[in-house]
Amino acid sequence: MKIMDTDYTMTAHAGTRRASKAILVAARRFALYLFLSCISLAIISPLIWMFSASLKTSLAVFDFLQIIPKEVQWVNYVKIWGRTNLAVNFANSIKLTLIITVGQVLLSSFAAYAFAKIRFPRRDLLFIFYISTLSVPFHVIMIPQFIVLKSVALHPHLAIVLILAFNPLGVFLFRQFFMNIPDDLLDSARIDGLSEYRIYRAIVLPLSRPAILALGIFAVIAVWNDFIVALLYIYRDEHKTIQLGMRSFFSLLKGPEYNLAMAVAVCSVIPVLVLFVLMQKYLVEGIAMTGLKG
């Protein structure tokens, strides 16, 4: 009887202990979610503030407790287009982004194919040399580049294309990807008499969708957001990219029209954010694969 008694109390204890442990685990979970939500919101708050300000009247911009505008001014997004050459700036950026992105993907995949799949003397040495130049800061080469490109008086857009199209990072990314394509596959194609160009075009490229998309997104983000190269080469309004056009817009504000400035800022950020939301899987894989960015 005595024994049964202790037995009973012991199981009861274990039961309450299990229950309190479950409560503790649940509380910890809740705290974790709460904490992560606070951090994410804190980090994204400047962007929320930007969007909120873009929909306010200019007087309400600094009323920071008014997160949801009292009178939503969608008209701000209409007003901005009449001001400066924003439409032209957008068109210039779209043009440059497309040309440079396609250029980077083609040029680097082509070179990477040789580095990954064709044997030639000193191949790996040349590749290491290639990759080591990734750490050369832009500030070292920008002055010589500027002097040379200015002296031949190229169109500023052409100068920007030439500077941004040859990206060693792209070669690195494609090479890593191509290394995982089995050699047997290519060898059997070679036996069938396909040339290396055909193999690249018909076998390797179609298999490389993830790498193409990853480099593609890197390039789109880098070119769209590029500020310094455009700053050095573009002087005239009609050549300006969105980043420079936006900067002129900010400097030409008539009084405290910060609501309009924020509307322009939102417009310049939206294309990249949408692209990221749609393709983030490839971007994240690309960063993990290279650990580097543009």
Binding site: I43, A111, I118, F120, V140, P144, F227, A265, V272
Partner: protein, 284 residues
Amino acid sequence: LAATFILPHFTGFLLFTLVPVAYAFFLSTVEWDFANPMTFVGLANFVELFGDEAFLVSLRNSIVFTVTSVPLTLVISLGIAVLLNSGIRGIVVYRSMIFFPNISSVVAIIFAWKLIFHPALGPINQLLRLLGWETVPGWTSAPGWSLVSVIIFCTWWGIGYYMIIFLAGLKSIPSHLYESATIDGANPWQKLVNITIPMLGPTIFFALIICSINAFKVFEPVMLLTEGGPGNSSSVLGYFIYKRAFVWQRFGYASASAVVLFTIILTITFIQFRVQKKWVTYLE
């Protein structure tokens, strides 16, 4: 045959990266403003640099910026990555929100930050006043705070990127290590210190190197947020180089300071190569 594949990329690479690097070293030994003939001055540019107050301030600011922003960025992004990796739901949503700043146009977000930092009207100082601060910081317009503003901005801007690198590293830690630690009764903190951080060693080191290199290269945030000012209080190497070359037209002098920056970055890269040999091999 291989050459035909490599040549298109290599030609551009040669013309727009390799030749300019060599040319930069040559330029560092001349005095040239583009309009007048070039004169060879030997090492005079370097001698002038190390007596130039503005250069020394920029160099010091670059070092201060690096040793503060790098640990801040890495600790915060590692912390977030560890929390995100603890098997929670909705990781994609949190990850996207934290990564957004990193891909947003720096011109756009810095203009927003300038308003946020606004000494009289900005939300930060309004909040500080609500919390009872009497003398609020002047942020971008105060000499003692301008570099702090740049550090705050850059940390905010960089967290998302390093978080993704750490998340990739965390995924590759085998889960059985955690399972056996749980059986042994380890608490989350012990698991972090004894499993996560040692296993993540190579990733942390790699992130440290990349983050330090990027910190020494910082340019746009300084140019757009403070223009190096007030005075030279927030000038960094990248901004010094830009200003001497493209505002003052002193291409030789600017190249000499660029060579100094290059030397710093090469030193960091060299340390990386030495240490990384033990951990990672790029070519297998």
